[in-house]
Symmetry: C3
Subunit: 359 residues, 3 copies
């Protein structure tokens, strides 16, 4: 196995100092993009998008082009011959012999790590199902650094579906690594943040509270991170009708916010932020998309120029059990090792992070 | 609203002198393409094709690449996540923060103007439904300039479906702005040029006549512009069977044409020009496609190097009425202003140019 | 007809010395890719893929990018406007006025030659139905040259479906042009090599034998070229169940192979080579894909820098008969000449190589 590349599969594979390096480089690139315009001249990035995600793909592509590199790839495997029964391993192996970095998006958890196991070049995870999406988190961190000037001592409100949002979970975990950040979780009872994320906050010593009303909470926030609640995620149609406006940000609610609060959103938005808010100078979600391009430039540049950095991908050992998560890549690609890390009585799958009892 | 870019939505937003500048630059580029090969090095063009139009998209992409720039974009929104409920405004806003120019193709009239209202970079209209397609007209003008040596004092025959062809309408309006051009309109009774185009000719003092037989008319033409008549556009199947050959250009009809007449066609052709005509040196339709590339190079170069030119997009005012055209972008994207220009008792929609009574 | 380009439609249009030139250039590029990184700066390759073939397309695209050139094209004509009734001639004619080289993949035999007849730039055949795929053969030759150090004096085993595999037929014909190569054909009775290929071996004086068991034959081979047998190609389900494992390469069979034998496969593989073999240093199929990129770099570079080389495409004459092959391009694109070469009592179609009686 060729585990000797500087991959980005999971932010937590790296110390906070590495995140800070990427964010500082993103800041420098933003300030003087012309200094980086031919840093990767002659290099090729392959974007292997096993599910369409036009915005993420264009963000990565633009980042590579603005560094002077080139792009190949696919965005629609259903019409691509790649879909015809070829294993992820074979496709990855071949394309990594053409390209200098692979960016992979896949509907199944652990797919990016699986690809990295055999790729002949570094791999970046551009989203593996509901599991991880580390460049979104880097985007959020750069936005905070640029627009608030710091990553610590912030009161951060997160509003919407806090139960299912991988973006929210990653951001909360990441921000709890910086000093004195406080969290205000704004959601319905049934869409509250999962307890294992709250456990992380407890370990890191971060303060938080949980509330159910955006309007009441907005006044104390330095940052409001909005996410969408899908209609079907409300407890009932009755609940939806009663509660939906509570979680919509409009100009009226903005009146109660601090003058220097910023509004963030991972996009796409549907109607959880009204169009009138777009004109408010505190609306930062479109600029956030642009920061995504700069932070991806920083990441790609760091990864390609340190491509032979030695890092291990799997730390656990192989077990005879299968991962119980049917949406784990080990249940789709059968040549993969059943690699788990033991934690107490539990085994944690190294691909999808699902826990199972070590029986 | 960020109306401060040099967009190309409608040729009529600019004086003839601007068209001439683009065409002269197209001529210069054609003569010495190597002088322009890295003019846009480091710049990025996004092609947002909300309906597939492979040839137009490849023409724009080649133009950008031959100026040293790069390209991102999509061509098939049905398989793209962009289709999933995101507004044109949000997509445009985000992509324009990645790119230096947006080229937009859309099935709905007014979409390019709507995109330009909020984009953070210039927008080029690559066709908005049956409404406008200004770079086709620029292509036609450059072809005439190169192959006839002039844009005035020409007798121009236009043959086929003159009622529904947006290409024909634009070309006629544009050519009537140059001196002493005469028009011969060759079509069936039911597919004649609409009267509002003839009104433009009258205002500009251009001579024209309407005939029903290509063979009789061809001898006096300097230029023959062929278009397709779709079978279902004939008044009846009987009419189709009787008339179809009348509007097909073949080698026999070419015998009656002047030795320096040129044949143009916006392509794709189906069978309105027989394959044998392709060998005739007067057949200019393939070369016309190449002129399309040169004129797009001229346009993109002009627009990007003058990106911060100040121009207004909307001149009218907002009304409470809705545009009556169901295929107008204001009826699809509800945040758009209902902006109309009053002309007598009428209101003209600023997005799709549909008229409605000001009641 | 513009037959004055250096096209690559069929390897047999060129002498072996030309193949050797391409392979030697491929070797040089592999050794010092940086020396070639801007050889085609400013040049454009169009990839017209009338059927998806993601890996072949990415290989060509990477090759062009690594020479400093740019790419346009389509990969999915069903969603492209190119599908809408435009002839191959018109599409080719237009795109060849944008690009410096066309790479065409098409489901119908003879399509690449048909495109070359009217294109304004060189054409490379990237696969025309079951007919030809010359860059796969060049890939195989470069792999042998790099990994065995020679193209002669080799004992080459070919295993799997030898009846229907265009890849196998081309490689056998090509390798029989080099001295002292011996062939071992390993297949079921019903999937043996067609006799017209054996005729070529006889003419070239190449030794060969036919066997039915991989395990027995593997020990004497310098090269093992594996291909897939589709389940439905076995004579019966009973035969499939009995024979399938005989043609699967696994670690056990590898124990009997020479220490310097190499395993090749055109990819994608399904299960005819087990995953455990991937770790064997003699497994060369992934590296073979990378050689495909280098040999395509050599080919594109040679073709573009010799673009105006004079070569004839059709040598025969036109007949009134139609080609009997329903999957021949002359039966799809009706403007094409019915051009045949007479051989004895037979006519051979110049597009698809089908024989018919000259009656």
């Amino acid at each position: 196995m060729s585990e000797n590349h500087l991959n980005l599969i999971d932010l937590n594979d790296y110390p906070v100092s590495f995140w800070n390096e990427i964010i500082e480089l993103g800041h420098k690139i933003r300030c003087a993009p012309q200094d980086y315009a031919s840093k990767l001249s002659g290099k090729i990035m392959a974007t292997l998008f096993y599910e369409p995600s036009t915005r993420t793909q264009m963000s990565f592509q633009t980042a590579m082009l603005r560094l002077g590199g080139s792009i190949i790839g696919f965005d629609n495997p259903s019409t691509s011959s790649v879909a015809k029964g070829e294993s992820l391993k074979d496709t990855t192996k071949i394309v990594s012999s053409y390209a200098d970095v692979l960016v992979i998006r896949h509907p199944i958890a652990g797919a990016a790590k699986a690809a990295a196991l055999t790729a002949d070049c570094p791999v970046i995870n551009a989203g593996d199902g509901g599991h991880l999406h580390p460049t979104q988190t880097l985007t959020d961190l750069l936005t905070l650094r640029e627009e608030k000037g710091r990553l610590d001592n912030l009161t951060i409100g997160l509003c919407g579906d806090l139960k299912n949002g991988r973006t929210v979970h990653s951001l909360v975990k990441a921000m709890s690594c910086y000093k004195n950040n406080k969290f205000v979780f704004i959601s319905t009872e049934s869409l509250k943040l999962p307890s294992y994320i709250k456990d992380v906050l407890a370990v890191n010593g971060s303060e938080y509270k949980e509330v159910s009303n955006l309007e009441d909470a907005i006044g104390e926030l330095d940052v409001l991170y909005m996410t969408r609640i899908q209609r079907e995620r409300f407890a009932s149609e009755q609940d939806y009708q009663r509660q939906k406006d509570v979680y919509v940000l409009d100009s009226f609610k903005m009146l109660k916010a601090k003058r220097d609060m910023i509004v963030m959103h991972p996009l796409p938005r549907v109607d959880e932020i009204t169009n009138e808010v777009d004109k408010d100078p505190r609306a930062m979600y479109f600029k956030q998309a642009q920061y995504g391009m700069y932070v991806r430039m920083a990441l790609i540049l760091t990864i390609i120029t340190n491509a032979t950095h030695r890092s291990k991908l799997l730390f656990g050992k192989e077990y005879k059990v299968s991962c119980p998560n049917s949406k784990c890549i080990t249940n789709c690609e059968h040549y993969l090792p059943h690699s788990f890390v033991g934690v107490g009585d539990n085994l944690i799958c190294e691909f999808c992070d699902e826990r199972t009892l070590n029986s």
